[in-house]
Symmetry: C2
Subunit: 382 residues, 2 copies
Amino acid sequence: LSHSVSGPLRKIDFSVNLIEATYIATRPDRDAEELAEAIAREQSLEIVRELIPDSIAASHLGRVLAVDELNDSQFALRIGYPEHLASGQVGQLLHLVYGNVSFYPRIRLTGLALPKSLVNELGGPAAGLPGIREYIQVADRALLMTVLKPRGSTPEHLADLALRFARGGGDIVKDDQNLVERDIETFRRRVGACARAIDQAAQVTGRRCLYLPHVSGSGDHLERQLDQVVELGLPGVVMCTWVMGLETAASAARQRGLMWLSHPAMAGVFAESADHGVSTPVLLGTLARVAGADLSIFPGRGGRIESGHDAESSTCQALTEPLGDLKPTFPCLGGGKRLDQLAETAARLGPDLAIVVGGDLLRQGDQLETATRQAIAQLEAG
Amino acid sequence: LSHSVSGPLRKIDFSVNLIEATYIATRPDRDAEELAEAIAREQSLEIVRELIPDSIAASHLGRVLAVDELNDSQFALRIGYPEHLASGQVGQLLHLVYGNVSFYPRIRLTGLALPKSLVNELGGPAAGLPGIREYIQVADRALLMTVLKPRGSTPEHLADLALRFARGGGDIVKDDQNLVERDIETFRRRVGACARAIDQAAQVTGRRCLYLPHVSGSGDHLERQLDQVVELGLPGVVMCTWVMGLETAASAARQRGLMWLSHPAMAGVFAESADHGVSTPVLLGTLARVAGADLSIFPGRGGRIESGHDAESSTCQALTEPLGDLKPTFPCLGGGKRLDQLAETAARLGPDLAIVVGGDLLRQGDQLETATRQAIAQLEAG
């Protein structure tokens, strides 16, 4: 049933660069081709067809590229949007491909192919996977990441966890995304204590663990946290992209020249319905990468949180495959992974992966440093 | 089956103010009470129970308040989070009540009761419903809102639409959320033209139509748009809250003293699955209101976009019922409503409602002013 468009759209100039979005429509509420036309119009111009002059249709209207019947209940709708509709902004790109259609029943965005010019304009990660590897001086194995928690702990306790992980040769330590302060002084005390612990460990190990504090909020409060991070000489931060807004997170990091780990909190609203929302490879893969995330956490198989609908390997692929001139983003598998899953996980997904082990490492207590050392040895052997 | 907690949580200090979140679990993947405990822990401290010292549990751990069996497949889980976990930030509040649990299968947030102290700290709308009514000098009837589009039109064309709507006595005109510019000069030309049209109409009608331009993006680009809006003497803006981030939108408006219309683009990812996400009354009602939206658009019955799962009346209620010291937010029914639905809609939902009629008004062409006048007369009669 794949076909090109005809009829009312035939005047369209197909030489313009297109953003190609593929939607899966499950049990479509109308004729599939009609639905595809409706989505193309909804997302680009959101107005009845009769009110779109031909000149604007040619330059601005989304166009149906193909409608394919996949099975008894599903169709793949491939729609092209003129590149300039994204206005060179990643927030607008997200809005363009899924804003209003999020209210249509059973429409899931599962594919997103971007023109090279747009990809390069958005720019992607400043440091990315190679920058992370260079910072921590680990050329080619999977990485171990841990998490400082719980909220409510003293700065000294959190700094001690960071110290022992870093002394054990751990690669990356991030703040739990629940570590949120309402005043900058408390933030500075906590983050400063952890930064000093990392320094102290580096003097012992001769190698620098990457520490990423969590920043949150908006406006002046966010700015002050970012200023503090820069002042403490730290290279990057954790942000909850899908709480703060993809573009807010991206520009906050970019303006300070900071690395940025994208945490997936709230992304389940996009990803977790089988027939609605945005697939994980598109959301936490392609979109996080073009926005410039240097690291992107996504939930995968095994552990406390499992993402049911999308393959983890395709998310890794979206983060690392050739894409314009962009650097790859470091794929990070999160969601409560355990130490005993490290070897198998690295074998399954390859060396370009950071595995997040939080609680299962912290529960080692006095043995945290030793357990970290053993875990790293496992990854080195793998 | 409703019951209070017992056992391991009995040491908790129940005198602390709680944020009460109610989740509907459909076909829970484990024992309902166990699931409730897991959510309470996931959302507050996200760590294995054994690593939470008693002192932190007492002050920081979410607690199960009730587990009620609703029917064969559904349970209501009521969970209390200590108020201070929201850190006085609306983004963190959203994160707290649904961040990680968005990755749990079939868990929907359907109720949110906030302590008065938190509500008042967040502050809600600066102008709100009474401020809007005062600005446009309409005391007690439902309002008519239209939309300037399509993208790609000249500033003169859009300004002409605004002029004729305002001369016809229309109440509110907003930019389509697809009107996005990548440079500030183009933004200024378009918005300036529309602002002058509104001025011109006010000289004829003796009454001022509320014009809300759309601002988007992040960082400096967003700031420059807001500066322009202020410079043009306009009182407010439209923002796509769920693209920009709830808190980013809120603080952008607050810092400039601007009114703010919250557009629901992308909110369908939260609202449109029956058994997952966040209900419309909580998301586009309570959360938009405490964040400070002066107007909140939500899709309702009738029209191009219908929201299938939540009653429009309960969203109106969440936006207007007594809530701390907060002003009400103006409920706006959007999603492609038609002129022939005005009377019935106003009768159904009452006078504290703005009805968004875009395409069906714009298609009146030369008769736009007359059609607006007739529509307003209908609302006045209703």
